[in-house]
């Protein structure tokens, strides 16, 4: 991994980023409430823990993780909204929270369904206000707006007041608003949440264009794995505030889902009291190197057991042979694992592995912050 100095002025460089929130713990009951008032008890919660990664110009990185993993908090530190407790952040060569105003010229951001447009004004009027705020020359603004209109078909509705726009129209306008001033770095926190497939595809087209043609560094958080597959070259998987994996989608599949699964249907007659599948397939009955993902009466789904490194513990022919030998099979098929399954497995496995008891007590800094 490069040092912060080496990557200076390029994209995003994050080293050892940590965020601890301190909150007041409310004691139960009336007496507890009074005690809390007189002697408040503070609790520390580490929401982001020693996170390091880079995003180069012309690269789209997907920051993935379950709800509450620390993704949004990480983005807020990268945009300068929150101050890190520890660690270093450089965004286009600037420390975002120390130089918030200058940093603002380099970044664009969309936070889910939260709009930065003015509710009572036509969307185009919002673009004009943002042009003034960012000091974009009129000619450049016109050209940029025309380009975004071509990609997002904004002119069909940009004279409509924002309060009357559909969700898809509004998010497209918000994306345009975030990109109008030509930022080098773009943060997108679940930008396509709640949008239909047509609009999602339009937004993906825009993002591909901005990354490949404009060379922007894009950091995207999403729960939509189709989006990740279509857009991201690299993903950072985060859970309980820690980085679990920083690699390609192929690495995610190999590490957490296996690259395949076997769906086997056993004979009804096998469901007798003496059969191992009478209630549920027990761990000790499983063929070596396989784990049982699910069982729905006679249908069993197997995947290669978790192994260290990226190589599965068992090959497909070995697994097929083992399953056929062990159970009275009436039907069998092999499936490629999709990314969503791999992510689910990753969240579950890492959730168990990294969960740690909180809280620890600490100073009163940032008390009352709402944790994302």
């Amino acid at each position: 991994m490069r040092s912060a100095d080496e990557a200076h002025g390029e994209g995003i460089v994050v080293r050892g980023l940590t965020k601890v929130f301190y909150t007041t713990v409310r004691r139960p009951g009336f007496a507890g409430a009074v005690r809390s008032l007189i002697a408040p008890q503070r609790a520390a919660k580490t929401v982001v823990r020693d996170v390091s990664f880079d995003v180069a110009r012309g690269e789209l990185l997907a920051l993935l993780g379950p709800n509450g993993a620390g993704k949004s908090t990480t983005i807020k530190m990268l945009t300068g909204i929150l101050t890190p407790t520890r660690g270093a952040v450089m965004v286009a060569g600037m420390n975002p929270h120390l130089d918030r105003k200058r940093n603002a010229r380099n970044i664009g951001a969309v936070f889910g369904q939260r709009t930065q447009l003015w509710w009572d004004l036509p969307a185009k009027e919002s673009f004009t206000i943002l042009r003034s705020i960012y000091g974009v020359p009129a000619e450049r603004h016109r050209a940029r707006l025309a380009e975004l209109d071509r990609l997002l078909e904004l002119s069909e509705f940009w004279q409509t007041r924002v309060r009357h726009l559909s969700l898809g129209q509004r998010v497209r306008c918000d994306l345009a608003a975030a990109l109008l001033h030509d930022p080098a770095i773009v943060f997108l926190d679940e930008p396509t949440i709640g949008m239909d497939v047509v609009v999602k595809e339009q937004v993906r087209g825009l993002l591909r264009h901005e990354v490949e043609q404009r060379g922007r560094a894009v950091l995207l958080t999403t729960h939509d794995m189709t989006e990740v597959e279509r857009l991201a070259e690299r993903v950072v998987l985060i859970n309980h505030g820690r980085i679990v994996l920083d690699g390609t989608l192929e690495e995610v599949r190999r590490e957490f889902g296996g690259t395949w699964r076997i769906r086997a249907t056993i004979a009804d007659s096998a469901l007798s009291a003496s059969s191992p599948s009478s209630q549920a397939v027990r761990a000790r009955d499983l063929p070596s190197g396989l784990e049982l993902l699910s069982q729905d009466r006679t249908e069993l789904v197997f995947a290669p057991a978790a192994a260290t490194g990226y190589t599965p513990a068992i090959t497909v022919p070995e697994a097929l042979r083992a399953v056929v030998d062990r159970y009275p099979i009436v039907g069998i098929s092999i499936e490629e694992t999709d990314l969503e399954d791999a992510m689910r497995a990753a969240y579950l496995r890492q959730g168990v592995a990294t969960a740690e008891p909180e809280p620890e007590t600490g100073p009163g800094q940032d008390a009352g912050q709402v944790v994302s």
């Binding site: 300068g80 939260r114 003015w118 009572d120 206000i129 003034s132 960012y134 000091g135 007041r161 009352g368």
Partner: protein, 272 residues
């Protein structure tokens, strides 16, 4: 990176946001006009009724009382814009999480807030001018006691609006800690209306009440400028009153400046 273009009329553009929203919603303009006419009608008949058996009360004659009350109705329009419908109050921005965008632009939130407030107040002032001209022309209100009184009233009104701006800002900044400011806004609005003379000129209240309110900033916003206008406060007292108003503006501005710094370090957004 785009360097700022100083030729862009940023101040004007930001100040114009709320007025433009109003102008694009004709029903709101009609509602404001109707409300103002009805309020003035009621106030005029109320004060004429109250003065039907007396010519002078608490140092005010009927003409002065009616003029004070009508101008109070008009001037409360200066900050009468309701940004709630436009999801544009600080409380709403914090609740919806859109406050983050204030801190992601190359325009300090404090400056943005000032520009927006100036626009709102300028728009409200346009209503006052129209209402004042109509009321003066129709003889509903009296002209200022003198030219000097008019000048003193204008200066006092300007300072009063600055006080009102700072008070509103403080209640908005409170949201960064409490997430809600409904109760604070209601209390401030009630105190403002009562202690500024919006409900009734302070001259009708007991002496202790007048003394108490003289230590608070609220009377700066209405009672002082309007009393100068109708001549209830002699012009020779104006410098002292203007100095008092200035002191409140400075004190409140220092507090709000301190709070802005702290608020920007704790931008919390509900729901992540």
């Amino acid at each position: 990176m785009i360097e700022p273009n100083p030729r862009q009329p940023l101040a004007l553009r930001a100040a114009w946001i709320t007025p433009l929203g109003e102008l694009l919603a004709p029903p709101r303009i009609a509602a404001t006009a109707i409300r103002m006419v009805i309020q003035i009608f009621l106030v005029v008949y109320l004060w004429h009724g109250l003065y039907s058996h007396t010519s002078t009360n608490s140092g005010l004659d009927r003409g002065q009382a009616v003029t004070f009350a009508v101008l109070a109705v008009l001037i409360t329009r200066i900050r009468g814009l309701d940004r709630f419908a436009g999801r544009d109050t600080v409380f709403q921005h914090l609740a919806y999480g859109t406050i983050v965008y204030w801190f992601l632009r190359p325009l300090a939130p404090r400056r943005y807030y000032v520009l927006r407030a100036l626009g709102d107040q300028a728009y409200g002032f346009a209503w006052v001018v129209v209402g004042y001209a109509a009321c003066l022309a129709s003889g509903v209100i009296e002209p200022p006691a003198s030219g000097t009184a008019a000048a003193a009233c204008a200066a006092s009104l300007l300072l009063g609006q600055a006080v009102l701006y700072e008070l509103t800002l403080l209640t908005d900044l409170m949201c960064f800690w409490t997430m809600h400011n409904d109760s604070a806004v209601q209390m401030i609005q009630f105190a403002q209306n009562l202690l500024s003379g919006a409900y009734a000129p302070l001259w009708y209240f007991p002496a202790w009440f007048i003394t108490m309110s003289s230590f608070l900033p609220f009377q700066s916003t209405l009672n002082t400028p309007l009393s100068l206008y109708i001549g209830r406060i002699p012009v020779r007292q104006a410098p002292g009153d203007l100095l008092f108003q200035t002191a409140w503006v400075v004190a409140l501005a220092l507090i709000s400046r301190l709070l802005w710094g702290r608020a920007s370090r704790r931008v919390a957004v509900q729901g992540g």
